[in-house]
Structures are given as structure tokens and as C-alpha cells.
Symmetry: C2
Subunit: 193 residues, 2 copies
DNA sequence: ACTGTTCTTGACACTTCATTCTTGAATTCC
DNA sequence: GGAATTCAAGAATGAAGTGTCAAGAACAGT
């Protein structure tokens, strides 16, 4: 009961995510979010709490949409090696053009907030860990099926891939040069063996 | 002529660098810097201009001290492969403990400012490019001396290493676990061939 | 129509921050 | 010693930005 909301909170959260993603936590004001979402500031405070909680909600949305998409590409049924290569290709694409400017919200948050914000650190780590496990699972299956040689431990290769994904999020921000990014993607695939 | 400065500007710049490094650009106020350096705000403005110029000066100092140290390890005379491995070890060390919380000022700046600040983007890219060229030179020499196999292009391997260095700067911030970092360092060395 | 509840809107207090200005002090050159 | 110059220190200014509040509007159930 009571007066109904005049906005769709998922839609507002989407806009919130987009802004924090593009500009970072501190460079984004609650007024910015309200304006872009087309609602009043007080409505944001009313619905999500303070700025920090709003940010956490946006990160959570990123985790269960954008980041989940990547994990699902890797855990797809079918050839595990092909799945890994598709994931690499997707990450490489995101390191080019306009999307390179945003990079990855989790990577951005890790650098801006993780050292001084335990909650953010935990959430970000959680996602990277899930990515690592997805890679590890796919590598193990690929090794069983003879698509990837077994002389390297799956976990170490998974950690290598996660580090490269994070590194690509940095490279794209400083110089989204197609040749450079393609070289890096090629190395990632080559180093699978 | 005129009244002499009561502080050493290199020392102040050092403190400035330390603060921006640990907290980022937006989270660091000019008042913070002045307090930590033990001088008045107006002295900072007088000496370095505005906040943005102060930041650029701090980045420049980082480039010619901290980052140069890394480049010099790589371009050291002696076995080029050993030099690369020493560089990897150093980067891995920096991804652990307290230094992991700061990470790399260039990587941090890349994510926080590069997309909206052309001057910062250029400076950061410049340093990463220098690092890439250092790696490439060392790899070429190592290949000539038979320390690294020649079936992969030196430039691509160099780009791979730079990406890993940046990735390690992210990993350390979210989870400076010695086992994880050591796995990653091991993979970097292993993938040299 | 009445009540209780929840939302919207605009205004308001409070804080922080970047930057400038004013005043006075220290130093060099003449 | 005086003039010109540069520096130091703190107050002052103006612009954001965060969070709260009061008053009214919209709805559900009775």
C-alpha cells in the first residue's frame, strides 16, 4: 500500500551502473545519477539508502549481468577450449573503441576503492574468484578431452587468464590500439598450449 | 632574489606522490598534501600551480623514479633472461603486503583518469610503452643468445608481459594472496618458453 | 469519504574542497 | 638602510556534494 513508485528501480539501477562504470565512484555524484535516471535525489536515498549502498547495488547488478555473461560463455557446454577462446575474444573486443573507456566496473572499483573499502574488496574478489573457477573448470575439461596439453596445472593457467583479463582492462584505457589488443589476445590463446 | 623557500620541493613532491599513490586523485585533497608535507596550501599552489598540475608533477616523479627502476632492471647488462625474471620477481613482490594496497600509480591513474584526461592518458601510455620496449629489447637479446626460443615474436611477448604487470597491480589490490601471486609469477616465467 | 502508508518535490543545513586574497616576513640588490 | 621581490600563513570565497526534512500527492483497504 501507499503511493506507488513512479520509476522502475531496475532501470534506475541500470543507469546508476552505467554512470559509476564510466566515471568511477567519487567522480559520480548522487545528483548525476538522479538527473540521468530522471528522478529526484530523495527518491534515490529513499530506495537505496546512501551513496555507498547505491554503489554496492550497482556493482551487484554488474556482477549478475555483465560479469555473469562472461562466466557463462566459459561454462557453456560444447568444446571447452572453444568456450575459452570465445571468452578471450569477447574480453579483447571490450578493450577496443568506446567500451574500452569504461573498462570493467569490477577492475575499476578494485583500484579505486578496494584498498580502503572492505565490502567492495570482498565483492570484487568474489567475482574474480568465480571467473577463475570457471576458467579452471573449462581448462580441466579441455585437458581431459585433449584440447589443452596437461603439462601445466589448470589452476595456474586459470590464474594467468584472470590476470590477463584484468590487464586488458588497463591496456584498453591507455591505448585501445587494435593491433596491440589483438597481439595480446593471440598470446593468450597461444599460451593455452 | 626574494624570500627563499622554507621547504625542499623534491621532498614535498615525494609526499605528494605517496598520497596520490595510496588514495587516488579525487580522494586526495590539496589540504591533505599540504598537511602531510608540513606546509601551507598556498605554498603548494604557488609552487606547482593547481591540483591537476601538482598531480602531473607527482606522476612525472613516479615515472622517473619508481617506474624507471623497473625499466632499468630489464635493460641491465648481463643475461637478458635473468633480467626479465628479476623484473617479474620485483613486480610479484609489489603485489603482496602493504605495497599491494597502493599498487602502481600509473595503473591506478590509467583507470581513474585516463578516459577523461588526455594529458594523463598520454603520460601513462608513454611509460607503459617504454616498459614494453624494454621487455622487447631484452627478449630479442635473449633470443639471440638462445635463452628464449624464437618461435614467438618478441613484440607480442613484450605486450603479454606488460599486460601481466598491469594485471598483477589489480590482483594485489583485491587479494594479495602469496600463493596466487606466486602462481602468476611462475606462469609468467614459464610462458617465456 | 477516511486513514494510514508510501512516494515526490523542493528547500535546507552541513560539510568539504579548490582556489584566491591579504597581510606580513625574509632575503637580495643597490 | 631602502626598494623590489618572493615566500608563508591563514582567512575568505564560491562551488559542489551529501544527506535530511516538511508538505503535499497518490494509492489500498475499510
Amino acid at each position: 500500500m501507499g503511493r506507488p513508485r513512479e520509476f522502475d528501480s531496475e532501470q534506475v539501477l541500470d543507469e546508476t551502473m552505467r554512470l559509476f562504470w564510466a566515471k568511477g565512484y567519487r567522480a559520480t555524484s548522487v545528483a548525476d545519477v538522479a538527473r540521468c535516471a530522471g528522478i529526484g535525489r530523495a527518491s534515490l536515498y529513499n530506495t537505496f539508502g546512501d551513496k555507498h549502498e547505491l554503489f554496492l547495488a550497482a556493482v551487484e547488478r554488474y556482477q549478475r549481468t555483465v560479469h555473469m555473461d562472461l562466466v557463462e560463455i566459459i561454462t557453456d557446454s560444447g568444446s571447452p577450449r572453444a568456450a575459452i577462446e570465445r571468452a578471450i575474444e569477447k574480453v579483447a573486443e571490450d578493450a577496443l573503441g568506446e567500451s574500452a573507456k569504461r573498462g570493467c566496473l569490477l577492475t575499476n572499483s578494485a583500484l579505486e576503492l578496494a584498498p580502503h573499502d572492505e565490502k567492495v574488496r570482498e565483492r570484487v574478489f568474489e567475482s574474480f574468484d568465480r571467473l577463475e573457477r570457471a576458467f579452471e573448470g573449462a581448462i580441466v575439461r579441455a585437458q581431459q578431452e585433449g584440447e589443452i596439453p596437461t603439462h601445466r596445472e589448470a589452476r595456474k593457467m586459470a590464474r594467468f587468464l584472470v590476470t590477463m583479463v584484468q590487464g586488458l582492462g588497463v591496456v584498453g584505457k591507455t591505448n585501445p590500439d587494435p593491433q596491440r589488443v589483438s597481439d595480446i589476445g593471440e598470446m593468450m590463446v597461444a599460451l593455452l598450449g
